[in-house]
Symmetry: C2
Subunit: 287 residues, 2 copies
Amino acid sequence: MSLSSEDIADGEGVPFDDRGLAYGDGLFETVLVRDGVATLWEAHMARLVRGGERLGIPVPSRSALDALPARAGAGLWVLKLTLTRGSGGRGYRLPDMPAPRLRWRVTPFTPSPERWWQGIRVRHCRLALGIQPRLAGLKHLNRLENVMARAEWQDPEIAEGLLCDSEGRLVEATSMNLFWQRAGRLETPGLARCGVAGTLRDALCRRLGIEEVDAGPETLESAEAVWLGNAVQGLWPVRRLDDDQGQKLADWRIGRLHRALQAEAHALLGYPCHDDDAGERDEEDEA
Amino acid sequence: MSLSSEDIADGEGVPFDDRGLAYGDGLFETVLVRDGVATLWEAHMARLVRGGERLGIPVPSRSALDALPARAGAGLWVLKLTLTRGSGGRGYRLPDMPAPRLRWRVTPFTPSPERWWQGIRVRHCRLALGIQPRLAGLKHLNRLENVMARAEWQDPEIAEGLLCDSEGRLVEATSMNLFWQRAGRLETPGLARCGVAGTLRDALCRRLGIEEVDAGPETLESAEAVWLGNAVQGLWPVRRLDDDQGQKLADWRIGRLHRALQAEAHALLGYPCHDDDAGERDEEDEA
């Protein structure tokens, strides 16, 4: 597809019959842009291409995509790309000639409260994610489960909610990936059944040898450390875990392991590393 | 909400930040309109209200909605309504003040090939629907599963594909509800875990005492009759069932039971009843 024939527009909406609106038939990416330079750009582009292949949606030319991050000015921005299958088809049936639409916007970004980088409180969600291997891992536009899960709590002190699948395995948080250390090993839920394969997650798994495992929620209560991360907010150590009623299940001191992981993650995103309590001894980390 | 403050527009699209586009955060209805009069209108409105309650999306005033079908002219039309949660919120978090958007369009409608009313060929899909009781039954905008399932076949002689859930229970077809007769009883899959509760389905269940059951796909092969239906296409008797490779699993003669059911369904939608082979004896129907 040549650049000139591509339907790419800055901040515009989509028509009534766009399949992204009608069916969530599309993909998105949210990219942290620092002074006009996209962070983890190759990983975002790789996921978009992977998603396009799985859904059968042609992805715009790389040259067109590569030009977008520079449209942000100095400072911190989020570039959001939404790629839909465009219009056409009869009902759910695919159009014979796909004419995808790419819409994008850059918005100034302020990270969540600074103190969340020091440690957050999370809770379990009641909603359990449906199992759908055909869509698992993709950042597609069918996100009602995430919306419904995020609506389960209003307390601003709860930073995130954790999600299991319908068979009781840990998957992720509503908008972040989940990681823990158990018996000295770094682990994260496998995402072959549901969940979003975050770009920061993939980078951390490769760099640190984090292992993909199947694990139930009780795993967290006996974990030595738990943390969340995504490519926009960075890495949040978990200091307290509540059940779905807000009752405490476990808590952790934030120590050297967390800070080392955060240093890895934040180097990729250009965020600072937080070690203001570095003088404090942390028994778990010394083990 | 007063009519004047409602964001209702004819055939317009939505802006980039609309949550319907971003997350599939909304609902839709497709209504058969005959000479400006909507069929099964109360049932469509009831489902929209039920969906709005489950998702927490305010539904526009009934007076505004009631005015829409008359915007279609003489003849057969489909009125499509798309209701989104509007813009706002931060990420998946709900906006503090929801400002939903209703978009609608009437399009001239031609039913599928006339001969499909006489009997269709269907196949099983490989895709299995994820189980999500929180969204089950709703006609929400997260329909990638339906899109992916419909993409499994291109043969124009295959009218529909049948879907099971991830635990192997029959649910529906990609855009129709599924029914069968077994040991003289009329049955349809329960929809507490996934699937769309069609308005024609609900009407037929109430009128004919069709029972909701849990059943595996093998149920169909020994059924006395199988049929599909929705509120736009009407009722299609199934004459042949294939597996997901296109190999025949079962076939049925279309007989008096099918025609009686179709007469019920088509009376609700104003379609004709097809009995051109009424003279033919049908042993199953005589049983």
